[in-house]
Each structure stands twice: as structure tokens, then as C-alpha cells.
Symmetry: C2
Subunit: 381 residues, 2 copies
């Protein structure tokens, strides 16, 4: 049985939960988060008032526990509002949380090479026709930062149908989509044989595209496999190895630039490892091709910064970090471009390879996923 | 006359500039930023090698000053690279920079109500036909965070022509554009008369749309003026008034949510005032309608956080912060949605108002601007 108590002359509500957790809530927080029809629109949930409409001196006049609800009378408004105990418990902020920089929420799972074969994968027809299959596939991408799709149409712009499953294309100066064509023949085998270092795309763009889709339409050359590396796993490994180096890559901004086409001069100033102000790992940017001169690292830290940058690259290059797979026509993969680096391995034979790529954004994917999950929960009732 | 010196057994180059500044550069930084054809693509400027291709023990074997160039021989590669002295000076990182949190770069100018009438404004025909006019108008938007355009076509989707001037539409679940229609008649005058508090759009989206365009097609009601507030000016004023409150709004994430349409559940976790890791003011998020329960502020700071949030709102509501203007058909305004808040004032008469809105992104605008500026410089030579 829960218990409640009003503390501090009405400034605070204390809720003792059934499992003896004490959760305190401020009167102003409770009032701001009221869900009555005058505070929140019953139709779309938007708040109808602003903080300026709530008295600064808001206090709890009285509070009563009634089953699974708490009824609170706020003064000086003399306004009565009811709260679900469950809602209060789920939104409680009275917790001790000491978390080390670089933390990730429980919805995220990092991975290395041994994840190979377990990556979120589905057939296009399934996710297209079956909302449960779509939900599970999107949940995998949200958790692991990438996913594969097989058995899709082998036709130009099929990748747009993939984006339609969850969101919207981010158009850029490259257009709504771009072409990745490679003819592998003996004369350029040496060049293409170099492969590409794993990278995130377009770090010179701000906001950076948060999703990339790469869709295969032709693939007759041996080799040229795709690989992905979990940038969050790489950043956390760097922190375990040398937390000072990790701090340097989070504390100072790098610079990225691309000015390779007419009319295009893209520049950004962002750290290689980005944290929220409370230390959550939110993005990794790593791209040797578009890294510009570092001008925001103080002289006395530059040597160590370069050592950290070098080590992060070595970790990214470590085969124990990578998951490799081959894309055949009608197959594609999606990466969270704020987290997962991707690359193309070297070719070992001649032929051609044609991919189409496009960018999209995570907000659409997370929204579609959350909506499918909510439908599922209400369906189960 | 500049002078150079090799220090620390080849680890550092010291450049004494004509105005007697001593600028030091690390050997590894210099080698990484070489612009020779083996390091950087002569055609598109992309780096062709990765840090892993540069020896960790890179040292300056010898260095010579030759007019406006420094010639460096790197060991152990035995590689000779030439640098423009100007380029080194412009990219120097050997500076003491102690800057207070909330700083903005010199390209940014904050403003208040007395800016009224001086805002970046141009006629659609001018910026469409004249690259210099477009450059100046975009430079104003980059500097002040908003701009107006007049004398545009009064036709549906004219706003797309505005976006075409500088970038690309960010499509969302609201579509490529959205409608803002208001019929003001005596029965709903009370409601529309409330006006809207100044806000940034879609803070529940991550990445947030960084540009919003609002384009007027009909405007027959008296009142309903548009107003904008410089969120950077508001944040800096809060810091001057109470730096502890400013710190609270930067240090802890707020939460935003919108789930008002079928299939849409958008949620974000970002601070109301966002700083880069080195303290640059990078974004403001403020929106009473979509602010969700704050669950990331520790209990002991929640009361002060609410006081800070309330004060930021009061500053935003202060008429001395706002610039107000009326949009007539064929007129539009653009805001940097990471910086400038916008609102609609109350109506004072009946009639109708029809705006079309869309989102776009700052990277396209900054790229177009930088490209126009570069063309201008090369044209002037």
C-alpha cells in the first residue's frame, strides 16, 4: 500500500511506494504536469497554459490518496488535480544517479564482431505487410544502431520505399538520393582495393543526417563487402582504456569541411564524441576524408588529443569491432549515422557494383516505432 | 618579417609572425593538415589518407621560410610539404582563450526590441535575380537568426521557392509543408485573442528542424502580428542576471513530447539552453505546449530549475526583447529555429489569416552563403 505525506508547508509531496521507495515531488512540478482539461488539451495532449500562468507561490493545500490516484488541491489557485500513482512513479526524479560520462540508456546495447549474424534483419515483404515485423525490425535498429533488409525490389529508387516504412528522406545538396557506382577492373583495382576506413557520413553537415540507407541494385564484383562498427562501443572502449583521452575527444570540438562541388561549402564544429550535458553518449563523428584542421584544441592538449584520435581510429579498425556482410541486389542496410560507422571492404575481383543511398532522420524512426509499440500494448489489453 | 624555429627535437614548429605573435604548431598537426596531392584530393579537397597512414613518431626534420611559404621536411617519411604562412596564421590554435559559458562567435549579433526596422529584409525578386542581394540577405539571417522577404508571389507553395533560394525542405510527419489557417470571428475571438507565447518549433524532434519558413497568403484580420525574440539574447540575459540559473538550464536535459496525431509519438531529451562542450551557445528550446515532465533534474535542484525556467520565460515575454511585424500576402519570414523564438500576437478584429509553413536546415543556408561569399572574393581579385 502506498502512503503520501505533504512536506515543507505544502512545497513537496512525499509518496512512499508499495516497495518502500520514498519519492518526493515539488508542488510546482506537480502543478505544471497536471493533465486536467484546462491544463492539457484532451484531444492532442498539448499544454494549454505556460509556466507564467501558474503562480510562483504554488503550494499543496491538501492531498489525498484514493486507490491508484492522488488527489491534490493546489493553492492559491484552489484547483484540484488528480494523478495516477503509476504515472508519478514512472516520472519520478527523486533518485540518486551518479553515472560516468559516456553512459547509454538501457534501450541501447553495444556490440562487436561476435554480434555478426544476430543483427536486426528482415525481409522487405514482411516489414511492409506486417506491423509486428516492422516494429521488431525498427526496435532492433533503435537498440543496435543498424539493420538489414533483404528480398526487396531490384529497381531504381526502391530505397525510397524503405524510408517510407518509418520516416522521411532528408534532402541535401546531393539530392534526395545519391548514386554509389563502382566499376572494378584491373586498371583501378589497386585504388578500389584500398577500401575505405569506417566512417560516419557528412559530419560537415549540421544538423548531421541521423540515418543513412544504402540499397544494392547491382553487385557482380567479388569482395566489396560492407562493414559496420558500433561507434558507441568504440567510444566506451576508449574510455575504459584511457579516460583522459576520452575526455579530450568529448571536451573539444573538431572541425569538418566539404567544399568539393560548385556552390557547396559545408562546415561544422562538433566534437568527435558528443555527450549530453549529463554525460549521455549522443553522437560519434569520425571521417578522415572531411576532417578539417583542428583549431579548438589548446596547444597544451593537442599532442594528447592526436594520441586519443589515433587510438580511437585503431579501435575502429580493430577487426574485433566489426560486423561484415555482403549486399546483393534487392538488399539494403540502414545505419544510425550518429552512432554506427560504415565502410566498404576491398574488392578481390572485377565486375560492377551499384548502390543507391539516401539520408533520413531518427525522429521519424523512433516515432513510428513508439507508435507501433503503443498500438501493440493497447491491443494486448 | 616572419621567423620560424623548430623546437622540442622536431615535435613543434614555432612561427613568429610579423606582428610578433608566437604561434606553435605540432608536427603531427602539420603533417595531418598537409595539402599536397598525395594527402588531399586536388579535385575535391578530401583527405586521401587516414591518421593511421601517418607515423605516430612524425617529426619535423627541417623547416625553411621562403617568402610567404614554410617548407617542412617530415621524418620518418622523408616527405616535404609546403604551407602558406597565412593559412597557418588563420588556423593557429596556440592561443589563450578563456571564454565564459554562453559565448557566441563574432559572426553572431544578438538583438532586442530596438532592432525593429533594421532586420534583414529583401524583396523576393531581388534575392531571386541578384546573387549579391541573396548573399547579403542570407548573411543577415546567419548573423541575426531571422529575416523577412517581401513582394513574393501570392500563390500556394510559394514558400518552396523561398527554400530553393538557399537549401532544402526538411520533410516531417507534417508533410513537406503545413497550413496555418485562422478564421477570426466573434465566437472564437476570445480564444485566438490569447495569442501564443513565443516558442521554438518542434523541440520534441531530434534532430530539431533548424529553419522555419512562414509564408503569408491571406491576412484580412486586424492584429495577429508576428513577433520574434532572440533566444540567444534571452539566454545571455538570464546568465547576466543569475549565472547559477543559466547553468541549471544548460546542465540538465528537459523533455519534450508530441503525440497528438495518429502514428506519431515524438520525444526528445535536450537542454532548454544547449552549449557546445566548450561553452558556445548552440541552441535554445522553449515551448510550453510540448514541454513534458522534467525527469532529469535532481530533486535538490528542481525548485531552482523551475525558478530559472520561469525567469527565462519572463525574459522572453519582456516587450523589450521582441521585434514585431505584420505579414501581408506574398510576405514571409525565416527563423533560425535553434535560436529565434516566434509567436503570433492576439487578433483585434475579424477576418481570416492563411500562412503556409515548412522546415528546412541551416547547413544548406550556411553553405549557400559561404559559396556566394567565396565567389564574391574571387570575383574581386
Amino acid at each position: 500500500m502506498s502512503r503520501i505525506e505533504v512536506l515543507d508547508e505544502g512545497a513537496v509531496l512525499s509518496l512512499m511506494t508499495e516497495d518502500a521507495q520514498r519519492l518526493r515531488f515539488h508542488a510546482i512540478w506537480l502543478r505544471d504536469n497536471a493533465w486536467d482539461a484546462q491544463t492539457r488539451s484532451p484531444s492532442n495532449g498539448q499544454r494549454l497554459i505556460a509556466l507564467r500562468d501558474i503562480p510562483a507561490a504554488t503550494r499543496i493545500g491538501s492531498a489525498q490518496l484514493d486507490g491508484d490516484k492522488v488527489q491534490i488541491l493546489f493553492q492559491p489557485e484552489n484547483k484540484s488535480v488528480s494523478y495516477q500513482v503509476d504515472w508519478l512513479v514512472n516520472n519520478a526524479y527523486d533518485r540518486k544517479t551518479e553515472i560516468a560520462p559516456g553512459w547509454t540508456p538501457s534501450e541501447i546495447e553495444t556490440w562487436g564482431a561476435d554480434f555478426s549474424g544476430q543483427e536486426p534483419s528482415a525481409s522487405y515483404g514482411d516489414v511492409h505487410d506486417n506491423p509486428d515485423a516492422l516494429r521488431d525490425w525498427l526496435a532492433g535498429i533503435a537498440r543496435y544502431g543498424f539493420g538489414r533488409l533483404t528480398d526487396g525490389p531490384v529497381e531504381e529508387l526502391a530505397l525510397m520505399k524503405v524510408v517510407d516504412l518509418f520516416g522521411h528522406v532528408r534532402e541535401t545538396n546531393y539530392g534526395r538520393n545519391f548514386e554509389v557506382r563502382t566499376e572494378v577492373n584491373p586498371s583501378n583495382l589497386a585504388y578500389t582495393g584500398l577500401g575505405l576506413q569506417a566512417h560516419t557520413d557528412n559530419p560537415y553537415r549540421d544538423p548531421v543526417p541521423t540515418i543513412q540507407v544504402l540499397y544494392c541494385l547491382e553487385s557482380s564484383a567479388a569482395g566489396g563487402d560492407n562493414m559496420v562498427v558500433d561507434g558507441f562501443a568504440a567510444a566506451q572502449r576508449l574510455r575504459r582504456e584511457n579516460s583522459g583521452w576520452f575526455d579530450l575527444l568529448t571536451r573539444y570540438c573538431a572541425r569538418f569541411e566539404y567544399a568539393g562541388s560548385k556552390g557547396v561549402v559545408l562546415r561544422s564544429r562538433r566534437p568527435m564524441i558528443e555527450l549530453s550535458p549529463d554525460g549521455q553518449l549522443t553522437a560519434v563523428r569520425f571521417n578522415n576524408r572531411s576532417a578539417a584542421a583542428l583549431t579548438d584544441v589548446p596547444f597544451e592538449h593537442m599532442d594528447d588529443y592526436y594520441a586519443a584520435y589515433r587510438r580511437l581510429g585503431e579501435i575502429i579498425d580493430d577487426p574485433s569491432m566489426e560486423v561484415t556482410f555482403r549486399l546483393d541486389p534487392g538488399e539494403c542496410f540502414i545505419v544510425d549515422n550518429t552512432r554506427v560507422l560504415h565502410a566498404r571492404k576491398a574488392y578481390s575481383g572485377t565486375g560492377s557494383r551499384w548502390l543507391q543511398g539516401c539520408y533520413a532522420d531518427l525522429d521519424g524512426l523512433h516515432s513510428t516505432l513508439a507508435s507501433l509499440q503503443a498500438e501493440n500494448q493497447s491491443g494486448a489489453r
